[in-house]
Amino acid sequence: MTAALPDVDRAAFVEFLTRMGDNTLILGHRVSEWCGHAPVLEEDIALANTALDLIGQTQFWLGLAAEVEGAGRNADALAYLRDAGAFRNVLLVERPNGDFGHTILRQFLFDAWHLPMLRALERSADPRVAEIAAKAVKEVAYHLERSGDLVIRLGDGTAESHARMQAALDDLWDYTGELFMADASDAAMVAAGIAPDPASLQAVWLAEVRAVLEEATLTLPASTYSHKGGKRGVHSEYLGFILADMQFLQRAYPGAVW
C-alpha cells in the first residue's frame, strides 16, 4: 500500500485522501438534489453531469483512502458507514443549495480551488494520486469554465439576478477560508511531496475569483472571517441530515448487497 513511500505518515495520507473524497461526495450530493428542479432543461443536464463527475471522483479518492488505510474497508464503507464526525469535507460544500445563484456561486468558489489543487496533485509523488488528479482535472476544468461563466452572466444580468448573486457571495464568502488552512496532516503531505500546502493555492484562487467577480460586476466581500471545522470533523448541523438521507438504506438494511 504505502510501501512505495515508506516515510509517509499513513494516517495523514488517509486524512488527506478522505478530505478530497468527502469534498466531492458532499458537494456531489448537494448538486444532485437539483435533479429535475433546475431553471432550464440545459441546467438540469449540466447539474446532473457535474454531480456525476463529483461522485465518480469520490469513488477514486475514497477508494484510495480505504486502500491506504488497509483496514478492509472500501469506498462505499467510507461513504455510507461513517458518522458525521468522521467526515472531513470543508463546511462550504455542505451549505444548503439555496437558490440557483447560491448553488452556482458555491460551485464556482469550490471549482476555483479544486482546479489548482488538482493541477498540483498531477505532480504528486504518489503516482496513484497523480493519476486520479489527471483524470479529474479535465472534468473540473470544465466545471470551473461553466460555473465562472454563469456567475458572470447572472452577476451582470438583471438587477434581480445581480442582487441574488451578490447575496449568495456575501453568504458563502466566510466559508472559503477553510480551503486554505493547513494543519499537521497537510504539513506531512507537503513534506512527502504528495500534496501542496493549501495556503499556496490561495493567491491563484483569489486571482481567478477577482477576475470573474469583476466581470460579473460583483463586489468582493470585505469580511475576512473564516468559519472552519469541517476538515477536522466538526461540521454544521446540515451534514447530519445529508448523511441521514444518503446512508438510509445501508443503515436500515445492514450488510445487504445492492
Binding site: L25, H29, S32, E33, C35, G36, H37, A38, P39, V40, L41, E42, E43, D44, I45, A48, N49, A51, L52, I55, G56, T58, Q59, L62, A75, D76, A79, Y80, D99, F100, G101, I152, R153, L154, D156, G157, T158, E160, S161, H162, R164, D245, M246, F248, L249, Q250, Y253, G255, A256, V257, W258
Partner: protein, 333 residues
C-alpha cells in the same frame, strides 16, 4: 405510452379520392416509406398531431426525472448513485432532443412548457405513481423503460424525420436504462428476505400502471387509425401491450417474482399470454389529475419554472448587454 391518447382532429379517415392533390401526394410519400422533413408541405392535422405527440413525449421525459430523482440522494452505493444520475441525465437529454424535434414543427419549447404547466398538455400517467422504495427504481427501469422501449422501437420507423432520428438515439440509451433496472431487480431478488419482499412489492405496484402506459384499446379509435395512416403510430396499443407482457413474463420468472395477475396464462392458440386488463377507471382518474403524485409532479415542475424565472431573465439580459457591447457605442442614438 409516453404519449397516450393523442388526438388527431380527424372525425374519420379520408380516402385517397377525397384528398386534395397535395394531401394525396403527401399520403403517397408516406405509403412509400419516405420521411417527411421540416420544411416540406404537410397537412395541418399531421403537424398538430405530431406536436401533441412529440410534446407529450418530451414532457414525459422531463417529468420522469422526478420519481427517479427521488432516490438519487438515497442510492445505496456510490456506483448505483452514479448510474442513476447518468440515467436521469439521459432522460433530460431525451427531453431536449424531443423539444428540438417539436420546434421543427413550429412550436417553441417555452410554448409547450406553458401548455404543460397550465395542465393543457399531459405527460405519461406512469409518472404520477410514487417511488416508495429502492426496488421501485429497479421496477421503473425494468417495467417503465421496458414499456417505453416497446413503443419507441417502432417509432424509429415513424414518418417524421426529426422524430424518427431522435428515437434512434433515444432507443440506444433506453435499452441501457432497462438493463440497469433489471440489474437492480436481480440484486434485490437474490438478496435478503427484506430485499426480495421489496422487489415483489415494487412489481405488484408497477405492473398495472405499466400496462396502462400503452393506453386503452384503440382498435376502434379514429385517432389511432389516422395516426397509423400517417405512420406517426405504427402499432396499436393492444399489440404493444401484448408484446410487453410476453417479453416480461419470462423475465419475472427468472427473478423468481410473481406477476400480480391470477389470470395470467400462456395461450397456445394466439401464441401469447392471456392477462387481466388494468383498472381503466384508475387510468382516467390519473389522467384527470387524481393520481397519487399528480399534484407533486406538476407542482415541482411549475415551481422549478417559476423559481428559475430570474435565472432565465438574467441570462437573456446578459446576452443582450454583451451583444450591445459588441456592436459598440454607435448603436446609441
Amino acid at each position: 405510452m409516453y404519449a397516450q391518447m393523442v388526438k388527431t382532429d380527424s372525425s374519420r379517415l379520408k380516402t385517397l379520392d377525397e384528398m386534395s392533390p397535395e394531401e394525396r401526394a403527401f399520403q403517397e410519400r408516406i405509403d412509400r416509406g419516405e420521411k417527411i422533413e421540416p420544411k416540406e408541405w404537410m397537412p395541418e392535422g399531421y403537424r398538430k398531431t405530431l406536436i401533441r405527440q412529440v410534446g407529450q413525449h418530451a414532457h414525459s421525459e422531463i417529468v420522469g426525472q422526478l420519481p427517479e430523482g427521488n432516490w438519487i440522494t438515497r442510492a445505496p452505493t456510490l456506483e448505483r448513485k452514479a448510474i442513476l444520475l447518468a440515467k436521469v441525465q439521459d432522460e433530460a437529454g431525451h427531453g431536449l432532443y424531443l423539444y428540438s424535434a417539436a420546434e421543427t414543427l413550429g412550436v417553441s419549447r417555452d410554448e409547450l412548457l406553458a401548455l404543460l404547466h397550465s395542465g393543457k398538455m399531459k405527460y405519461s400517467s406512469i409518472f404520477n405513481y410514487p417511488t416508495l422504495t429502492w426496488a421501485d427504481i429497479g421496477a421503473v427501469g425494468w417495467l417503465v423503460d421496458g414499456a417505453a422501449i416497446m413503443n419507441q422501437v417502432q417509432l424509429q420507423k415513424t414518418s417524421y424525420g426529426p422524430y424518427s432520428r431522435a428515437m434512434v438515439r433515444i432507443c440506444k440509451e433506453e435499452s441501457f436504462h432497462q438493463r440497469q433496472g433489471y440489474d437492480i431487480m436481480m440484486k434485490m431478488a437474490a438478496g435478503s428476505d427484506a430485499q426480495r419482499a421489496m422487489a415483489q412489492d415494487a412489481l405488484n405496484r408497477f405492473w398495472y400502471p405499466s400496462l396502462m402506459m400503452f393506453g386503452p384499446s384503440d382498435k376502434d379509435s379514429v385517432h389511432s387509425a389516422q395516426s397509423m395512416a400517417w405512420k406517426i403510430k405504427i402499432n396499436t396499443n393492444d399489440e404493444l401491450r401484448q408484446k410487453f407482457v410476453d417479453q416480461t413474463v419470462p423475465q419475472a420468472k427468472y427473478l423468481g417474482l410473481t406477476i400480480p395477475d391470477p389470470a395470467l396464462a400462456w395461450n397456445e392458440d394466439k401464441g401469447g399470454h392471456d392477462f387481466s386488463e388494468p383498472d381503466w377507471t384508475e387510468f382516467f382518474d390519473v389522467l384527470a389529475g387524481n393520481g397519487p403524485c399528480n399534484k407533486e409532479r406538476l407542482g415541482a415542475r411549475v415551481k422549478a419554472w417559476n423559481d428559475g424565472a430570474w435565472v432565465r431573465d438574467g441570462l437573456v439580459a446578459h446576452a443582450e448587454k454583451a451583444a450591445a457591447r459588441r456592436s459598440g457605442p454607435v448603436a446609441a442614438e
